[in-house]
């Protein structure tokens, strides 16, 4: 699902909001304002927001905030959440100790 996305299109000005300091990503303590500002700086995708702000990149890998982040980004872009591509899903699905990950049994 790659649709053409002109990153210079006008999405309006970033207007500070009273709840900008609300923590959205609990793991990495990323606020709503940081996410909103990043969108206005040109980061139009969930993946870019993750890579830049680490929102959804913490211990829980976005299980708690993915939906919230999507909603915020969509609102800034004047879009709906369902139109935003979610971040990719990668192993391991839960954090796993190096000594366990490296201790395979292929029987």
């Amino acid at each position: 699902m790659c649709s053409i996305n002109d990153r210079s299109r006008d999405i309006g000005e970033y207007i500070p909001a009273p709840d900008d300091d609300m923590v959205i990503c609990r793991c990495e303590e990323v606020t709503k304002g940081e996410i909103r500002r990043a969108v206005h700086a040109g980061l139009f995708t969930i993946t870019e927001i993750r890579r830049y702000l680490r929102a959804g990149m913490g211990l829980c890998q976005g299980q708690t905030c993915a939906r919230l982040v999507k909603g915020i980004v969509a609102a800034e872009l004047g879009s709906v959440p369902a139109e935003l591509e979610p971040a990719s899903s990668r192993a391991p699905m839960r954090p796993i100790e190096m000594e366990v990950f490296g201790n395979e049994r292929i029987g």
Partner: protein, 524 residues
Amino acid sequence: MKRYDLIIVGAGPSGLSAAVEAAKRGMRVIVFDENDKPGGQLFKQIHKFFGSKEHRAKIRGFRIGEDLLKEAAEFGVKVVLNATVIGIYPQKEVTVRIEGVVEHYKGDAIIAASGASENMVTFDGWTLPGVIGAGAAQTMMNIHGVKPGRKILMLGSGNVGLVVSFQLMQCGCEVAALVDAAPRVGGYGVHAAKVARTGVPFYLSHTIVKAEGEDHVTGVTIAEVDDKFQFIPGTEKHFEVDTICLAVGLSPMSQLLKMAGCEMEDNPRRGGQVPVCDEKGRTSVAGIFAAGDVSGIEEASSAMIEGRIAGIAAAEYLGYMDSGESEQAIKEQEEALEGLRQGMFAPQNRGKHIETTDEGIQISESLLKKGYIGDDEIERYPGVRHTVGIHPVMECTQNIPCNPCQDACPKGCISIGQNITSLPIAVEGTECVGCGMCVASCSGQAIFLVDEQIEEGYASVTMPYEFLPLPETGTKGKGLGRDGSPVCDAEVIKVQTAKAFDQTHLLTIKVPEDMAMKARFFTF
């Protein structure tokens, strides 16, 4: 590599149901679950389920879980607990963390039945200790035997919010208020009514402004919202609570399927990101199936049927059933599923404001706004009739898929008819013997036995009671109205406990005659 015919991810209602169906057909099945107890959410569901007999209605969720496990064991399903699937790779390779090892398995088919995760809302202070998910509350109280808090505010009036509020009170917590930003109660009216009658105030069109507290929650402020969900100044209300419980919906936990390369879609009607599936649960990747909440949020009863369908479909896929057999088996399951997906709360009606029942009766506005049916509204429903002597009063006022009451009555006093979602009717000319089976069988705790005149000036009301301590005969207290406010003095005149009632006690209270149709709960 260790190879199974079928690997199932998740030992919840859909996963176990799928395992049973597949194993029944001779498949070698292994089920992985990351939790240390099987059954998924079933073991947190201590209420009786809705539906009809085939959906295991009136049986408590955790007992359904026990039955499913037993069934799975009978057919030789291997259930591995504390087993976290960490990835699905090409050629249907599944890596599983079990204790200190990562095991590699291969399946000729995979069914993902990984369930859902809870949605969250943000408000000032939402990260404070004491703000928890409704699932967390259920886990703590019903699995670990620890109260989630002493005094709790619940946000969310869907079935989860309503059921968990009730469960919180059952384990001895106080529920200070039930709050929802929506203008109307989202869950079943019967669930709302059983919470409201204990005295929990409902605040619809309200949401949380702020959770207060330095190191943990010590209070909460809510306020009314307008139709654009903006706070209306001056409507703030404060509660001293130590816990705020969030029950604002679920999202499919579909990351594994995405990793496996299944085509995904963001489908708000299914609750979020779900695999694109056909009616048999087949994803875009041949041999990978999805069942239960992971493919769309629904009740556990539906998840169990979806699981069975996926199990049968997997058996067909691997040649353990011929297509004729499987078509027939799937058809039976689909009919059962169809039965559940009817009525006002059916998936296709999600978000719609339905004003009248199928019978053309107006839905109680009070029920939708305050959680209880108004005394002036109750008479309009066909389950509410007046006769001499003891008789059932069915305060079941919405079209929900549920009919155990009609089978429960040995005398045929209650009728729902062919359509499982119809409102129960008090059948004319039948004679109630006061056995109480209907009261105990009603998953919504909406049936009462009323004798409008047991002696001069007094009536009796028999109600379901699932709290501790259980009052004894002779206990004097107050009768509470549907809104939970004291309406009269009341005395317990009978307490019935029976195996057939399954932990639902029947409390009969004596109340003044004019309270026969008003007193619906007892406190002492």
